[in-house]
């Protein structure tokens, strides 16, 4: 059966990664299907960041395979995976700090549509690029900030710009590493609603500590503890799982359920 037939955007197969004696990723199997938000949760030190890095391409697994859109991308660079259709937002905002908000998004649009090899025409005067970038900024509500330097943005606005830059790539799969981190309750609510609407466009692998957001957004949840996926299933299944309660969720579930 091909990956296209199974409807999988992303498949992790038997992924392991060890740092010395520490098994940060220990035989992880995980599937993100088309049109679903798959949340990855787990306590601090569970190996979420290590796993994300292996999906994005910054870190090579010791064994196992990463299959993206039916392609085995295990040996691919970060840039090549992005070109295939992987968008990403970072846990700590990672932007072109000296560029304006608009130029950051224009760079993303340019990367997807034309690449880096244009040496003559001034990029600022490229109306098609500018119009598309403004369109993306409009979607995340940053239009009024377009001409401001990134350094002048608030923390929440930087989070939104991260998402905007990922969206400008028109990704098939979005890798969101704690997008709610540091957002106030209002910001979290807005971003949650925005991501819910986005689900029709692309699938998402969402790493998030905010459980309300996870339960509101996720179609399925995988729970990572000490590098292992100890449970994977629907929101209801995860809430009901005794193993998950014991390992991680316990108190929080009682609090919010």
């Amino acid at each position: 059966m091909t990956d296209a037939a199974t409807g999988a955007l992303l498949e992790l197969k038997g992924l392991t990664k060890a740092f010395g004696a520490l098994k940060a990723t220990d035989g992880v199997d995980l599937t993100v299907r088309h049109g679903e938000i798959h949340a990855l949760i787990g306590p601090n030190g569970a190996g979420k960041s290590t796993l994300i890095a292996q999906v994005a391409g910054g870190l090579a697994p010791d064994t196992g395979r990463v299959v993206l859109l039916g392609e085995d991308v295990t040996g691919w660079s970060v840039a090549r995976r992005a070109r295939l259709g992987l968008g990403r937002s970072f846990q700590v905002s990672s932007l072109a700090w000296e560029f304006s908000v608009l130029r950051n998004v224009m760079l993303a649009v340019q990367a997807r549509s034309a690449g880096a090899w244009g040496f003559w025409a001034p990029v600022r005067k490229d109306e098609a690029l500018r119009a598309e970038a403004l369109g993306v900024l409009d979607r995340v509500g940053l239009t009024l900030r377009a001409d401001d330097p990134v350094a002048a943005l608030s923390h929440g606005e930087r989070r939104l710009l991260e998402v905007a830059m990922a969206l400008a790539l028109r990704p098939r799969l979005l890798l969101l590493d704690e997008p709610m981190a540091g957002l106030g309750p209002e910001g979290t609510k807005e971003l949650t609603a925005f991501l819910a609407r986005l689900k029709t466009e692309c699938g998402m692998l969402l790493v998030e500590h905010d459980m309300d957001a996870v339960f509101a957004l996720a179609d399925r949840i995988s729970v990572l503890v000490y590098g292992k996926v100890i449970a994977s299933g629907t929101v209801a299944e995860i809430r009901a799982s005794a193993a998950v309660r014991e390992a991680y969720l316990g108190d929080h579930l009682h609090g919010s359920a």
């Binding site: 994005a56 840039a79 990672s94 932007l95 000296e98 690449g115 880096a116 040496f119 003559w120 025409a121």
Partner: protein, 326 residues
């Protein structure tokens, strides 16, 4: 016109005007001085593209400067002797054509930069500085160990190569040629910085992981920029050897690499006309304070210290204000 554009235009006019006046007053020394400024500014414009725009702090640009110089020297030697540079499998002799020398200098610097860049651009920060320095030192010792081309003593160029239509031996004409090449290089760099390539390169400087995440691999972008940067510096080296009628391993030494970095920092890192201002200030200090005391570099050191501590934008930053970011 922005303030920086005005400052740039005034600088360009001053650099053109000074030797014209000097020539009218029959002062060839000052015409040659202006040629030195134009040529070293060109070398700095090359480095500034790698260092200022691309964030690649190369401590080995003397390698390209010297290679360009040796292209001019070796071509002149073989042309003078009528001997071949190599005779097998086909024969290549020297050349008296300045344009041919420029093209060869550009090609040689590009090849050297591709090799050095491929070996060093996987690193960054202090490692990149050290690796570029190491490569330049290798080429320095190669030149020292070549007795056929003068070894440590260097190589004299007895007859300056020629250009079609104009007399390249005339000091003012030679200045104008150097000046035109400098302006051309500045124009090309200006277009490049504003292009799609320039946007990607600047992102590679600010945040290479971000660039990769957008789908553009930083390495080829940086390698292309490093190569273009080296070509400009190599061309400057060829002109410098022709100006002095002499090339020696000193052109390849790490002192020279340091000087080119000083032009860039004095003038303003990443500012289009920074290296022009930096090279001009450097040469003026050397000529005038140097004429008054041998310890002119003490003054240079003081100014450099002041720039690094208090005026990060260099001369251009002082005259035109902070760089605009948009």
């Amino acid at each position: 016109m922005s303030r920086e554009a005005l400052v740039n235009a005034l600088l360009a006019l001053a650099l053109l005007g000074a030797p014209l006046i000097a020539a009218a007053q029959d002062e060839p020394f000052y015409v040659a001085l202006a040629s030195r400024v134009a040529i070293l500014a060109l070398a700095g414009v090359g480095l500034n593209f790698a260092l200022g725009t691309g964030g690649m702090v190369s401590f080995g640009h003397a390698a390209f400067f010297g290679l360009g110089g040796y292209v001019a020297g070796v071509a002149a030697l073989h042309a003078f002797e009528g001997s071949p540079f190599f005779a097998w499998p086909f024969e290549i002799g020297g050349s008296e054509s300045m344009v041919v020398i420029w093209l060869v200098a550009l090609a040689v610097s590009a090849l050297a930069a591709l090799a050095i860049g491929a070996g060093s651009l996987r690193t960054s920060g202090v490692y990149f500085i050290m690796i570029t320095l190491a490569f330049a030192q290798m080429i320095y010792y190669l030149a020292v160990s070549l007795p056929a081309y003068g070894g440590e003593d260097g190589l004299s160029i007895y007859i300056r190569s020629t250009l079609p239509l104009v007399d390249s031996d005339d000091p003012l004409t030679f200045f104008l040629v150097c000046y035109a090449l400098l302006l051309l290089a500045l124009f090309l760099v200006h277009r490049l910085v504003d292009s799609r390539f320039g946007a990607a390169l600047q992102c590679a400087r600010m945040n290479p992981l971000r660039l990769a995440t957008l789908g553009i691999a930083p390495f080829p972008v940086k390698l292309a920029a490093f190569t273009f940067s080296a070509m400009l510096t190599g061309l400057a080296g060829a002109l410098y050897a022709e100006l002095n009628g002499f090339v020696s391993p000193a052109m390849l030494s790490w002192h020279r690499s340091g000087e080119i970095i000083v032009f860039v920092i004095l003038g303003g890192v990443g500012r289009l006309f920074g290296p022009v201002a930096g090279a001009a200030l450097f040469i003026l200090l050397e000529a005038f304070v140097g004429g008054w005391t041998d310890r002119w570099q003490l003054v240079l050191g003081g100014i450099l210290l002041a720039v690094v501590l208090f005026a990060r934008g260099g001369v251009i930053g002082l005259l035109a204000g902070k760089a605009r970011h948009d």
